[in-house]
């Protein structure tokens, strides 16, 4: 069967790996483009968030290329994303497309449903559960590898000697990882990619500003939506740290150090109720970045994203309490590159000036 799935950052490589190794044909949707957005905005509700529109657009592109099944994830709310699978299906069927949609809910909320859906995918190709789990584990390793390599680029890019080098090498790394098939291959590819990146000539003396990126996962992970914010900041000489990666590994190791500081716990004085999506995390991670002495935090959110709006209204207080500058960027299909670039430059200038002052009498700013 020709199976397609949501396109989100580099994770596509791991999903493709899983589907192909189960014996299906993986139809990787084209990288999101203006055309994707045009399809998406044409048929999506006006106030749906940009991830909804991009997904709808890329489903249409994939269906036009002959996809027969769409696999996506659900959710238990109260973030809207949990409804997206259902609504995408309704909209696409109304447009006359013929396909099967499988929406995976968090397995523990309904185990029989989960089993039934997995069976739907693996039965037609006669794959046993054991083989499925084995393939799943390999794909997970690939996903982890992708995250690991990408987080390395965030450290190297601001220190590269020739601008754009890291991005070029990273593209090579993705190809290498994409071609790795077995566990051993993937581990080998990981080491090779790391070596390639580390070989980039760097100015290790450079004192880079450090900015944490928090916010809604899809806009953080997909460079087409966030207008390559990590690359842009990196090339301005800013080291960014991304709070969310797809894998839990990074969640525990990258953000909260050794898993000592629990994001929800530090967010609690500000927001005690889970508001869905990444609302609470945005607050908790800002607290952690503040404690770790980062220069600033950028909150990325889709326009009309409810959890992030709640977080935004609370962040000024976090900013004051932890003396860390916070800038919120809401993104949608109208967002222009030049506007964002100007705001980023201004923010970076502000942080540079703050660095020149002594830590004590720094006043914080929220833009």
């Amino acid at each position: 069967m020709r199976i397609t799935f949501p396109y989100m950052g580099t994770s596509r490589i791991a999903f493709k790996h899983l589907i192909e190794n189960l014996g299906h044909e993986a139809l990787v949707p084209p990288a999101p483009s203006k055309r994707t957005l045009t399809y998406g905005t044409q048929y999506a509700p006006e106030f749906a968030c940009i991830p909804f529109k991009i997904l709808l657009g890329s489903y249409i592109e994939a269906l036009n290329q002959g996809a027969e099944m769409i696999i996506t994830s659900g959710g238990i709310g109260p973030c809207r994303a949990g409804i997206y699978g259902m609504l995408h299906e309704k909209i696409l069927k109304n447009l006359g497309y013929n396909f099967e949609m499988i929406v995976f809910e968090p397995p523990l909320t309904n185990i029989p449903d989960f089993v039934r859906k997995i069976n739907k995918v693996i039965k037609p190709v006669n794959v046993s559960w054991i083989r499925f789990l084995k393939q799943f584990k390999t794909s997970w390793l690939k996903l982890k590898t992708l995250d690991e390599v990408e987080s390395l680029t965030l450290k190297i890019r601001p220190r590269e000697l020739s601008k754009g080098e890291t991005t070029k090498v990273f593209a090579q790394c993705l190809d290498i990882i994409d071609q790795a098939n077995s566990r051993e291959d993937i581990i080998e590819a990981r080491e090779k990619a790391k070596k390639l990146l580390q070989a980039i000539p760097q100015d290790t003396e450079r004192k880079c500003l450090k900015i944490g990126i928090v916010g809604e996962i899809y806009v953080v992970l997909e460079p087409f939506i966030n207008l390559d914010i990590e690359k842009n900041l990196g090339e301005m000489g800013v080291e960014t740290h991304r709070s969310i990666y797809l894998t839990d590994w990074s969640k525990e190791n990258a953000v909260s150090g050794d898993g000592e500081e629990d994001i929800k716990r530090v967010a609690k004085p500000y927001l005690s109720e889970p508001v869905g999506g990444h609302g609470v995390s945005s607050i908790g991670e800002t607290v952690i970045y503040g404690k770790k002495g980062f220069d600033g935090v950028i909150q990325l959110a889709p326009f009309t994203c409810i959890p992030e709006i709640v977080a935004k209204s609370i962040l000024p207080q976090v900013s004051k309490d932890y003396n860390i500058s916070v800038m919120t960027i809401f993104l949608d299909e109208q967002t222009g590159k030049a506007g964002i670039q100007t705001r980023l430059e201004a923010f970076v200038d502000l942080l540079n000036q703050r660095r020149m002052l002594t830590r004590e009498d720094k006043t914080c700013g929220v833009i």
């Binding site: 106030f47 659900g74 109260p78 109304n94 109720e273 508001v275 326009f303 409810i306 209204s313």
Partner: protein, 326 residues
């Protein structure tokens, strides 16, 4: 002098105010409400609230500002869930926090976490805790709680009998529709939206009244018995996550099955849940015999004339359609 508790007259006000008023009065407190939304309240809210919030949340900020200096306590419950099936919109979930961190110099907040999971005892427990925090006795609290339940029940019965919430709560009159005298059958429209938008004459640009002037019979969610609404849940493969949104979409199914001449969805600019609700409604109206469907998006800039023109056009179109079918 009795202690004054302030309750902003927006959001949950339209559904649950009476319960809380009777309860606090039963504890010998004075309940102070903000006036029905005015231009000043909207302006104040827009000034204080985060720009990306929807108009009802901005207006809520305005109501809080209006009450701030007049009361000893502000009552801002964290509405989580009434039936365990759906939660409220995330903005309701974070409301006390949003208010606390965006508005300066607030009186102490009474902010119970309302998560009932369809369990009556829970509500009593919440009331008991509130009473204790205000150092009122348990017996007094129980009396107040019983009275409040009764008052709320009566209120909900009135709503089903087509009384508008504001008429009952504040003697705010919206003229009621009387069947047209001519020989044209009246146009019946389902006007669906969250109670704090639809019934707030300022936020909704007085849509209900305008429709009544056009001699249209308006049907709203509150006129359906809650049990009948709950029955409509089966039409969607997955429930929506939000309490009020489920009410709206189920009422839409209810009225579409009952047979109506048109469907109007009132939604706030940028409302997250409504982006989903609106599209589902649109697709369903299309499938139910192409029932005419209109979305009216409102925000703090909505103008009377623009809304009136759209309503007139919609109603005219329906009258034409009815004439042709007859």
């Amino acid at each position: 002098m009795s202690i004054k508790v302030g309750i902003p007259s927006t959001l949950y006000y339209y559904s649950h105010f009476l319960f809380w008023r009777v309860f606090f009065e039963g504890l010998s407190m004075e309940v102070v409400t903000s006036p029905v939304t005015t231009k000043e309240i909207v302006d104040q809210g827009v000034k204080e609230a985060v720009t990306d919030a929807c108009v009802p949340i901005k207006v809520f900020h305005g109501h809080v500002m209006n009450l701030r200096d007049k009361v000893d306590y502000l009552f801002i419950p964290r509405m989580v869930s009434l039936n365990g099936e759906a939660t409220f919109c995330p903005k309701f979930l974070g409301l006390p926090d949003m208010i606390r961190f965006s508005l300066p110099d607030l009186p102490p907040l009474i902010e119970p976490r309302i998560d009932l999971k369809n369990n009556k005892i829970k509500l009593w427990q919440i009331c008991k805790t509130i009473a204790a925090s205000l150092s009122a006795g348990k017996i007094k609290a129980y009396g107040a709680y019983r009275k409040a339940l009764n008052a709320q029940k009566k209120f909900e019965e009135k709503l089903i009998a087509k009384v508008k919430p504001l008429e009952y709560l504040q003697d705010y009159t919206i003229s009621t529709f009387s069947a047209a005298t001519g020989d044209t059958p009246p146009v019946r429209l389902a006007v669906l939206g969250y109670p704090y938008e639809l019934y707030d004459p300022f936020i909704s640009v007085n849509i209900l009244k305008k429709l009544e002037q056009l001699e249209v019979e308006t049907l709203t969610i509150e006129m359906i018995h809650p049990k009948l609404i709950a029955k409509e849940a089966s039409h969607l493969p997955k429930n929506l996550f939000w309490h009020y949104s489920n009410q709206v979409i189920r009422a839409a199914y209810y009225y579409l099955h009952q047979g109506i001449d048109g469907l109007i969805h009132i939604t706030a600019f940028g409302c997250g849940p409504d982006a989903m609700v609106d599209k589902i409604m649109e697709l369903e109206a299309k499938q139910h015999n192409q029932v005419p469907f209109m979305t009216l998006t409102i925000d703090e800039h909505s103008g009377e004339a623009g809304v009136m023109t759209r309503l007139e056009a919609f109603v005219d179109m329906i009258r034409l359609r009815k004439g042709q079918n007859a």
